[in-house]
């Protein structure tokens, strides 16, 4: 069942078109990603969903509500983590959580949230002394403290170190598993691939694709490359005659074989028949990165 519906959304700032035409629906209980290059209109889109901006065109329904007209009601059902939004320097972690939980009619126990987000030993720390990852986790905690049905998280892991990023991902999966629908804005492929059930790729204010991460990857040319260093010289022709192979190159003793289908199996069979061992064997497959680049390629 759709919990967020965005139809023909359009928004411009003066002469600049931020969102040209965006439509998508988010199902209840999924992690839905909005992926796109910088300036594609991702943040503007979610700000319209949050009711922070008034769209020029289009309709938005969130949990049956109109984000502008039913602002007050929506604010109780939606938790928001904003890009680059801070708290006062000197506020303590527990004060911020206690304060924010007082805004909601039926808040979560913030003491539990603190533990779940690994902030329990920073409870008495002032906001200004927290690390980037801790600030981000506090920000997620504040977004969840009102027991929202929907959490909107904008550029959640930007500026975090790899470990903090992975911890945050685990956290988001935990949120989804507890029944909250998550709308996630990101420009990290790895993050989208790991977390999102479905994705909308936005480019220049338009949706260019909506699919699962695997579905998006399968849209690009599924060419693969196998690289290896043979244990003894092998004749290139042995590979060229394979159906799966489209190209064979040999650079300084290393083979790069391009092809389709079950390429790796075909190549290793030839090697085995000739009693050749492949060292430094690597297989490159199309990734979400490739899908993203081909979907958002500048049109000439």
């Amino acid at each position: 069942m759709a919990i967020i519906e965005v139809v023909d959304l359009g928004k411009r700032y003066g002469p600049t078109v931020a969102v040209d035409e965006v439509s998508f629906t988010v199902d209840e209980g999924e992690i839905f990603g909005i992926l796109g290059p910088n300036g594609a209109g991702k943040t503007t889109t979610v700000e319209c969903v949050e009711g922070l901006r008034v769209p020029d065109r289009g309709t938005i329904r969130v949990d049956g509500l109109d984000p502008r007209r039913d602002r007050t009601e929506l604010r109780q059902r939606m938790g928001v983590q904003l890009q680059e939004s801070q708290l006062p320097e000197r506020i303590k972690v527990r004060e911020a959580l206690d304060l924010y939980s007082s805004f909601y009619p039926d808040p979560a126990d913030w003491r539990e949230l603190v533990v779940r987000l690994g902030l329990e030993d920073r409870r008495d720390a002032e906001f200004g002394t927290l690390s980037g990852g801790q600030k981000q986790r506090l920000s997620v905690a504040l977004a969840l403290v009102g027991r929202p049905r929907i959490a909107v998280l904008d550029e959640l892991t930007t500026g975090l170190d790899p470990q903090a990023r992975r911890d945050t991902w685990d956290l988001i999966e935990g949120i989804r598993d507890s029944g909250v629908t998550v709308l996630l804005v990101t420009h990290f492929m790895e993050e989208a691939e790991r977390l999102c059930d479905r994705l909308a790729v936005i480019d220049a204010g338009r949706v260019v694709a909506i699919d699962t991460p695997a579905g998006l990857v399968s849209r690009v040319d599924s060419e693969q490359r196998v690289r290896f260093r043979p244990s003894r010289p092998v004749d290139e022709a042995l590979f060229r005659e394979l159906d799966e192979v489209t190209d064979v190159r040999l650079h300084g003793g290393r083979f790069v074989i391009t092809g389709r289908g079950n390429l790796l199996h075909a190549v290793t069979s030839v090697l085995a028949r000739n009693q050749v061992v492949a060292a430094e064997l690597r297989v490159d497959q199309a990734s979400l990165d490739d899908a993203f680049v081909s979907l958002t390629k500048p049109k000439k």
Binding site: L52, M78, L82, Q86, I91, L99, S102, F103, E126
Partner: protein, 241 residues
């Protein structure tokens, strides 16, 4: 809302500078000046009274000017710049309530500072309690209202927290000068004193109501109009983000 006021009050108290300057400084200044024998001896130069009697109104000006023209505009502009107000507007609480809490905390600080000056003046230097209590209270409230609204106008119009601090400092210096904080009012030219009578927070009205007579209605009226105008401009031009 109560929780918000409590948190804002804690944040206020954690800023050592604002506590020292807004709340303690006027009293400390009174003690320092009062420690100089010449300034606590009646002298025809001060109109037959003591210097410290004539300076009492100015002490209130210092508190109100610091809170209204330093604390309020820089805190509010910083909250906007750092997205604190924007963050709040995604919760059921209207960010306007944060501003209200902020003003309330500053008003409480002003009242505490004034009470402290009055108490120390009475106990240590035998300066009479405000004679015209209603007039004095009204003047303090109007002075606070007009300076706080003016501080909000600065926060509304300045594009960044830095710019707000800059403008606020200019306004602060002017109010301090006209209020007799740098040079005592009896040394200032008449023209300057006349401006000072009408400029918030109304040093003449504070002084008058403290030492005896009712504050002059035109002085109060001008402050009320300034408070109203500045409040309207602030409300019209304020940006939450």
């Amino acid at each position: 809302m109560l929780k918000l006021v409590r948190v804002e009050a804690k944040l206020f108290l954690r800023e050592g500078a604002s506590v020292i300057f807004a709340i303690l400084f006027p009293t400390v200044l009174l003690l320092v000046l009062g420690a100089i024998p010449a300034l606590r001896t009646p002298d025809p130069m001060f109109g037959g009274t003591r210097f410290i009697d004539g300076y009492a109104g100015t002490l209130v000006v210092i508190t109100l000017a610091f809170l209204g023209l330093q604390r309020v505009p820089t805190t509010v502009a910083t909250y906007r710049e750092r997205g604190v107000l924007r963050r709040l507007s995604t919760t059921p609480l209207h960010p306007g309530k944060l501003l209200a809490a902020q003003l309330l905390v500053n008003l409480i600080a002003a009242v505490v500072a004034v009470l402290l000056v009055v108490a120390v003046g009475r106990l240590v230097f035998d300066i009479g309690l405000p004679h015209h209590l209603v007039g004095f209270t009204l003047t303090v409230l109007l002075g606070a209202a007009s300076l706080f609204s003016f501080g909000l106008v600065i926060a509304a119009l300045a594009s960044t927290a830095k710019a707000a601090a800059g403008w606020a400092t200019v306004a602060f210096m002017l109010v301090m000068f006209f209020g007799g904080a740098y040079l005592p009012r009896f040394l200032l030219p008449d023209a300057v004193n006349t401006v000072g009578q009408y400029l918030p927070p109304g040093v003449a009205a504070l002084q008058d109501s403290w030492v005896g007579t009712a504050p002059s209605p035109p002085h109060l009226a001008v402050m009320a109009v300034i408070a109203l105008l500045a409040g309207t401009v602030a409300a019209r031009t304020f940006r939450w983000e």
